[in-house]
Amino acid sequence: MYRNQPAQQQRRSQPPPILSTKDDAYLTDALSWELLAAKKAHSFASQCSDNQVKYQAEQLCQMHQRHYNILLNHLSTDRQQQYADQSYPHFHN
């Protein structure tokens, strides 16, 4: 499909906002890390007797859930569709 790009296409200074196979592999890896870290922090928070440690652990849990959502957003079909439309109109179908 890349062969079908018009020859007169402008030279890009940066890669288009399309996920590479490597991006996808790293994203799914990182999502697993974040989920595990969030679960661990939450589990530890529930076991802590020291309130400061408990609070810190819960903060970490929330941060990892936030990070998870940021990463997941890059895999969303809406976003991918949007990317494909603006960058490679001929990419799908």
């Binding site: 940066q14 890669p15 288009p16 906002p17 399309i18 996920l19 590479s20 490597k22 991006d23 790293y26 890896d29 990182a30 890390w33 870290a37 661990k40 922090a41 530890f44 076991q47 802590c48 007797s49 020291d50 400061q52 440690v53 810190q56 652990a57 903060q59 970490l60 941060m63 990070h67 940021i70 990463l71 890059h74």
Partner: protein, 139 residues
């Protein structure tokens, strides 16, 4: 010059000898036995955050497009801050101690490496030009 001026706030400074001071808070109580205690939990969380910064450091370097790069760099940065927060809490709890280097050693190294500045190959000696490619960037 190396007298205790209380610049470490309320931290205790233990002197086991005349020359090996320790910067450390009084230890907060935690269970001292075979069970997984609060100190172990905080240590484990710190190890997790450190491990994550390694992972995201590789990830950010391998990203393709700018939006993904920005988001992953943001996550890397926040994860570093999280490491710092956990480290600071461990220090506050007195579960982490530091040993200050002797000021005479620091001074010696300052002199030595100040001398090496004469080897700088660029005339533009460390002064960043605004708008330059390698001017400081904040993330």
């Amino acid at each position: 010059m190396n007298s205790n001026r209380g610049s470490y706030g309320s931290y205790q400074q233990h002197y086991s000898g005349s020359s090996s001071p320790t910067i450390k808070n009084p230890s907060a109580p935690f269970e001292k036995g075979p069970e997984f205690n609060d100190r172990d939990r905080l240590n484990d969380l710190l190890a997790t955050e450190k491990w994550l910064t390694d992972g995201f450091n590789v990830f950010v370097r391998e990203t393709s497009h700018q939006d993904l790069y920005n988001d992953v760099l943001h996550i890397l940065n926040e994860t570093h801050h999280a490491c710092r927060d956990v480290f600071n809490l461990m220090f506050e709890k007195g579960w982490y101690s530091l040993h200050p280097e002797q000021p005479s050693h620091v001074e010696e190294h300052y002199q030595k490496y100040s001398g090496y500045q004469s080897q700088f190959p660029s005339q533009n000696t460390g002064q960043y030009q605004t708008g330059g490619m390698y001017s400081p960037r904040d993330y």
